[in-house]
């Protein structure tokens, strides 16, 4: 386990870690705590918070594996010279996936615990319960596309589109959650597992493909 995290750590820079592991969750918490305190419906801060999280998370991924899935990526030559190339990439992608899941779900759970002190907001927690998994699925899908691109402006474009898609899905999902709570959670859970497996396996396929010109 420690090797897996070490590999992820080596692939991420200090600035990335600070932004994604410290600034992003802290901003999210501060925004939501303020809404709780000011009695602003939690759905507002959750919606804004999660949308920004997806946007920044996809964009920031450029600094770890930007352009990694590109066909004939000559920048992989050094990694290709090691027998551990596949293992290292698997570790990095897997840890990044777990990190993303824990971040999205963990922040919701922290707010849920704090929410006990704000009974008037409890109703919103049920309505927003699909946010973490929906954001995770959107973010993972965005990353899957963005890693084919070189140039952070293109990655930002993908991040923006993913955020937009997420925003469009919010209202119908809220409606569905109200009527079919467990079905929505179940479907999102299946999608979460599926997109996580797809991202890891696709990354390993790209590692294998990188050794072949055709």
């Amino acid at each position: 386990m420690s090797r897996t995290i070490k590999n992820y750590w080596a692939f991420t820079r200090w600035g990335y870690r600070f932004a994604v592991l410290v600034v992003l969750p802290l901003s999210f918490l501060i925004l939501n705590l303020f809404c709780l305190y000011a009695k602003i419906p939690l759905v507002v801060s959750m919606l804004i918070g999660y949308m920004y999280m997806v946007l920044i998370d996809i964009w920031a991924d450029y600094w770890i594996l930007g352009g990694f899935y590109r066909k004939s990526n000559s920048a992989l030559e050094y990694l290709q010279t090691s027998n551990r190339f596949g293992r290292i990439i698997r570790d990095v992608v897997l840890t990044d996936t777990i990190r993303r899941f824990l971040l999205y779900v963990g922040l919701y759970l922290i707010l849920l615990v704090i929410g006990n002190y704000y009974p008037e907001q409890i109703g919103w927690y049920k309505d927003c319960s699909f946010f973490p998994l929906l954001c995770f699925v959107t973010s993972q899908s965005g990353v899957l596309i963005a890693r084919h691109l070189l140039g952070c402006q293109y990655v930002y474009l993908v991040a923006s589109i993913a955020t937009l898609v997420e925003g469009i899905l919010i209202a119908p999902m809220m409606y569905l959650t109200e009527h079919y709570f467990w079905a929505v959670q179940g479907i999102l859970l299946v999608l979460t597992a599926a997109i996580s497996i797809i991202v890891v396996l696709y990354s390993l396929k790209k590692v294998r493909d990188s050794y072949y010109d055709k």
């Binding site: 200090w14 920048a75 030559e77 290709q80 010279t81 027998n83 010109d213 055709k214």
Partner: protein
């Protein structure tokens, strides 16, 4: 001379659109520095990529250190013994020096962080300034990137280095240093280490080259120990009046109003009898150019 080989390849073939690498037999001697020389597009990088194991879509078999073949190379930790540097984008562009160091440690057990840092200092990667590990690789010049690659590969425990165009982006002083490093690497290995490098800077690298392989349009057209090649080919200079007769005998010839200069195969020297010619030992550069000229597809 009885030679042991660090790489033995047979029937290596790789096809691209309009180009085929076709090498029926490849032997790279153990304990020596072997230069791979050829025109642009001759297939040098393709061959090096295949040997370094970063291209797997080829035919034929390659045996390393008389221990394992190219299929077995992909298993376990066999690539640990082979160091490779290449032109172009070798590292992911977003990496910093610190990441290169840390990721190298993850990739190779035999990577020595201290040695890497001392080599970076020795090669003045950061000029007169301190080691700035936060600096992005993409912000360095091509020459400095090559220095980092060399420092990286030399900081590992390897038995063979495959260096694709290491001299090209380097200044003359650094090329001299590169030769020194190649010699040092081989000496430290006591005959167990080998280097295979490609180069267009044949003159600069000649003093460190023991064995040369010359490639043209995907095939090996000449190879041998440099000292043997210098016996096989003779540099001949003669007067203008003999140039037409010499043209029929010489392997390659350059002429002007005053005379001619060309490379002659030693076995054809007798045919020059009666001409007023001087004979000299050619440099590896002159031999290479002659062999490339004789086999080139370029119109002359």
């Amino acid at each position: 001379m009885n030679m042991e080989y660090v790489i033995e390849g047979s029937n290596i073939e790789k096809k691209f659109k309009g180009f085929t690498l076709d090498i029926p037999k490849l032997n790279i001697p153990k304990g020596l520095a072997t230069a791979l020389i050829g025109e642009n597009g001759a297939g040098k990088s393709t061959l090096m990529n295949i040997l370094a194991g970063i291209r797997l879509d080829h035919k034929g078999t390659i045996r390393y250190f008389n221990e394992f073949d190219h299929m077995e190379r992909e298993k376990g930790n066999k690539k640990e013994k082979i160091g490779y540097t290449g032109p172009g984008h070798y590292y992911l562009p977003q990496w910093t020096m610190k990441q290169v160091e840390e990721i190298s440690g993850m990739m190779f057990d035999g990577f020595h962080k201290d040695k890497f840092e001392s080599l970076c200092k020795e090669l003045a990667v950061f000029g007169a300034g301190p080691l700035d590990k936060g600096k992005k690789i993409s912000s360095f010049s091509d020459g400095t990137k090559m220095k980092i690659m060399l420092a990286n590969v030399l900081a590992r425990d390897t038995d063979m280095l495959i260096l694709d165009e290491p001299a090209s982006p380097l200044d003359p002083l650094m090329r001299d240093k590169l030769c020194e490093m190649i010699q040092g690497y081989l000496e430290e290995g006591n005959g167990e280490r080998s280097i295979f490098f490609s180069t267009h800077n044949v003159s600069d690298m000649e003093n460190v080259t023991d064995y040369a392989i010359i490639m043209e349009h995907g095939q090996i057209v000449e190879e041998g120990l440099v000292e043997d090649l210098k016996e096989k080919y003779i540099l001949v200079k003669g007067d203008a009046e003999d140039k037409e007769r010499a043209r029929e005998i010489l392997y390659t010839i350059n002429t002007n109003n005053y005379g001619f200069e060309g490379i002659c195969l030693a076995k054809d020297l007798d045919k020059l009898a009666g001409m007023n010619v001087t004979k000299e030992i050619p440099s590896l550069y002159q031999i290479s150019v002659a062999v490339m000229k004789a086999n080139s597809l370029m119109e002359r």
